[in-house]
Amino acid sequence: MENILISEFSYILLFIVGAIVFIAGGLITAWIIRPSRPNDEKKTSYECGEDPVGNAWGQFNIRFYIVALIFILFDVEIIFLFPWATVFGQQTLVETTSGVWGWFAITEMSIFIFILTLGLVYAWKKGYLDWVKPLPKTEDFNSKVPYSLYEKVNQKYTVPSSKPE
């Protein structure tokens, strides 16, 4: 059993190594046939043709960090759920306990998920899930000239035959 497991993982390793070898092959081929004529203009960072100002390695929006935190919570939850998912409904286990096993496992896991969901609700209520939203711009300008006057001017200067053909 253990040997089978190890040989199966060696096939996984084959896929990983194989992918790296495939890329290395491509890169070497490209390295042989491609030209290499670097100059200063070519090697500047691309910024729509402008000369780049400053360094890009700067501060970043804190929200990305919060998203990462919430993600870690849920990822841990999912890691716990996977082994649970493969055993809670095993036929032999359920039959030997006359059905108790399955319901007990579900109840336990529901409590676990419920506690984590509380975390999500907390983050939701606190507004951590809300990204910066562009606000629609509203006009707060109040003209002293009444609206109907504008309408009258518009009507006066509307050419009757200016309908689009």
């Binding site: 896929f15 990983i16 491509g26 491609r34 290499s36 849920f74 759920l81 319901w103």
Partner: protein, 372 residues
């Protein structure tokens, strides 16, 4: 199996070449254009020509870049995505590795993709690439939550992580599945998975034993899976990380030549991989959609016994048909829907998909107990 590795590598490469072509043709059709027409008949060799061009392009490394991160990132991105194929069963006989961790390993290894993207974006030391990488990472990790839970729903129904075992459960060959520790020769399939209904479909097979029919709510789970997989693969409407009109090319702005094509190859391989997983988890994998009806043995005629040559040929045919149909839907969506805003993206993931998938997981768990 070594043969699975060779087949899947060839499949990924050939598929990418033609998927790029098909994508351009689909977009052309959607926008009432002709698309590529010059190279070969109907432009069918356009991508081959593009690849030849890309491999001859100069490899430019920006002088402010972190050289090590910049050079290694494409290798990590492609390797992470391609390693996921190791546990995909192409047919009843051809699978890279039957390690019992299966789909769990798959989810774990494709998350490394995020690391490569972050390295590429940060290493380039370009404002666009950093924006792109940050967006990509936050989007991919967020959507991994509904994606993981929707995979769990299918796992709960099947009680195994092994994708080959999941595939066997969904067809007429269910009793053929045997390993040292697992024996399926007494396993039976019932309509909607529920024994109490008393309608046995083990011998009927076809679409009636697919997971979407064994547990009808899995169709909604599939929709959640599909939406999150679009986000995982950075496809429109979730292509904010490489929004051309704002971020040039996103995290791969600074890449040229072969390194750039690695990133592109990884993106298309990701589309293929998530479609494979969707086809296996929800739509029967390499099983035929036709059921046996009385003496009309449609299922047996359209699928060979596991381990035989016919079994492999039919298996590849059916799974690729399902996978390509899903990829076509992905392309169709790309050229139909506009891009989401960042806040819409985040609220869709955390406020809709995650709670809904948790509820569905709960229902699936109860359904599983009713299946025994």
């Amino acid at each position: 199996m070594v043969i699975a590795f060779v087949l899947l590598l060839l499949l990924v490469i050939i598929y990418t070449v033609f998927a790029v072509y098909i994508e351009r043709k689909v977009s052309a059709f959607a926008q009432d254009r002709l698309g590529p027409m010059e190279v070969g008949k109907f432009g069918i060799l356009q991508t081959v020509a593009d690849l030849l061009k890309l491999i001859q392009k100069e490899d430019i490394i920006p002088k402010t870049a972190d050289k090590f991160l910049f050079l290694v990132a494409p290798v990590i991105i492609f390797t992470a995505v391609f390693s996921g194929f190791a546990v995909i069963p192409l047919t009843s006989g051809i699978i890279g590795s039957i390690a019992s961790v299966g789909v769990f390993y798959l989810l774990a290894i494709i998350s490394l993709d995020v690391l490569g993207i972050l390295m590429a974006g940060w290493g380039s030391n370009n404002k666009y690439t950093i924006y792109g990488a940050m967006r990509a990472v936050s989007q991919i990790v967020s959507y991994e939550v509904p994606l993981g839970i929707s995979v769990l729903c299918a796992v709960v129904i099947c009680q195994t992580l092994n994708l080959q075992e999941i595939s066997f459960q969904q067809g007429i060959w269910i009793q053929q599945y045997q390993t040292e520790t697992i024996n399926y020769s007494n396993e039976l399939n019932y309509l909607f998975g529920i024994k109490k209904l008393g309608i046995e479909v083990t011998d009927i097979g076809g679409f009636l034993t697919w997971n979407v029919v064994r547990m009808p709510l899995l169709f909604f789970v599939f929709i959640i899976f599909f939406i999150s997989s679009l986000a995982e693969a950075n496809r429109t409407p979730f292509d904010l990380p490489e929004a051309e009109s704002e971020l040039i090319g996103g995290f791969h702005t600074e890449y040229t030549g072969f390194r750039w094509s690695m990133v592109m190859l990884a993106e298309y391989a990701m589309m293929l991989l998530v479609s494979f997983v969707a086809a296996i988890l929800f739509f029967g994998g390499w099983n035929t959609p036709f059921p046996n009806i009385g003496s009309l043995r449609l299922a047996e005629w359209t699928s060979g016994l596991p381990g035989t040559v016919m079994g492999n040929i039919w298996g590849i045919f059916w799974i690729l048909l399902k996978v390509f149909a899903l990829i076509l839907v992905q392309m169709w969506i790309r050229w139909t829907y506009p891009r989401l805003r960042v806040d819409q993206l985040m609220s869709l993931c955390w406020k809709y998909l995650t709670p809904i998938s948790l509820v569905l997981l709960f229902i699936c768990a109860i359904w599983r107990l009713l299946m025994i």
